[in-house]
Symmetry: C2
Subunit: 155 residues, 2 copies
């Protein structure tokens, strides 16, 4: 069979006609971002995991076809990469591009890994304070357990 053409790193995952591109996620985090944003009901999801990146060494990228993610979703994505950018694409053009911003408090996305934590036993929203940004470290607002990125579990 004939060899296929090599694509430059930035095109390792194809361009979208319409949709949302989340670039510069931390390596391995595209899967968690997809879990939060969901697989498009009417379109494809493209994920690049551990891609080479001049800026980050390794990075992830997530592209969602025919989906326009909301501002609320953008805020959640900061958890999976403080350097992440979100671009809204229409007809192959970038309509708008933003850098994610990590809030000081994260509510209702993560689950506390402490089995004894009250947030796992009562109907309350989880809440974590951001204690350190790089590498990311958050602290449970209920039991005060400190949680690193590798321990993140989604609710």
């Amino acid at each position: 069979m004939k060899p296929e053409k090599e694509l430059p790193p930035q095109q390792q995952v194809a361009s979208l006609r319409h949709g949302t591109v989340v670039d510069h996620l931390n390596p391995g985090m595209a899967l968690k971002a997809l879990q939060v944003l969901g697989i498009p009901a009417d379109g494809a999801a493209l994920l690049g995991i551990n891609l080479e990146s001049p800026k980050m060494g390794r990075k992830d990228i997530l592209k969602l076809e025919n989906v326009e993610i909301s501002e609320a979703d953008v805020a959640k994505l900061a958890l999976f990469g403080p350097q992440a950018t979100v671009s809204w694409i229409r007809e192959y053009r970038v309509l708008r591009k933003v850098q994610v911003t990590l809030p000081d408090t994260i509510s209702g996305i993560l689950r506390c890994p402490n089995p004894g934590c009250i947030s796992n036993h009562e109907k309350i929203e989880s809440r974590f304070g951001v204690e350190r940004r790089r590498p990311l470290l958050v602290r449970c607002g209920y039991c005060e357990r400190a949680i690193e990125e590798a321990e993140f579990v989604l609710r």
Copy 2:
């Protein structure tokens, strides 16, 4: 910003220089296939989910860079798409391509979703018989619970 070029569907996920390509997975199943095969320690993983496919309507594709999956892994992949193919790539060329074959019995990959099933309480390998191939239906060898693809949980 300038519009990017549209790629044909088969190139929605870039070509690999070295590695393994799993094509024609059932839609949504690339994530489970990645869970079984693992993220490459030394390379990228590229996933296309819900891609358009003339043959299947929608399909998934999984590409693992710098990884040569084993025959044992190929057998596991049949669970995630009876039409799946596996190609081993070196220097952009397909060294070998095989169609997956679903065995009659599946051992040790899936977990029985029945919480009362003995396979969830004792140290025994899970075992399912293949009862129907399309759509896939398997039956637990211990508690006889029938399980459809949407209920598959990996061990």
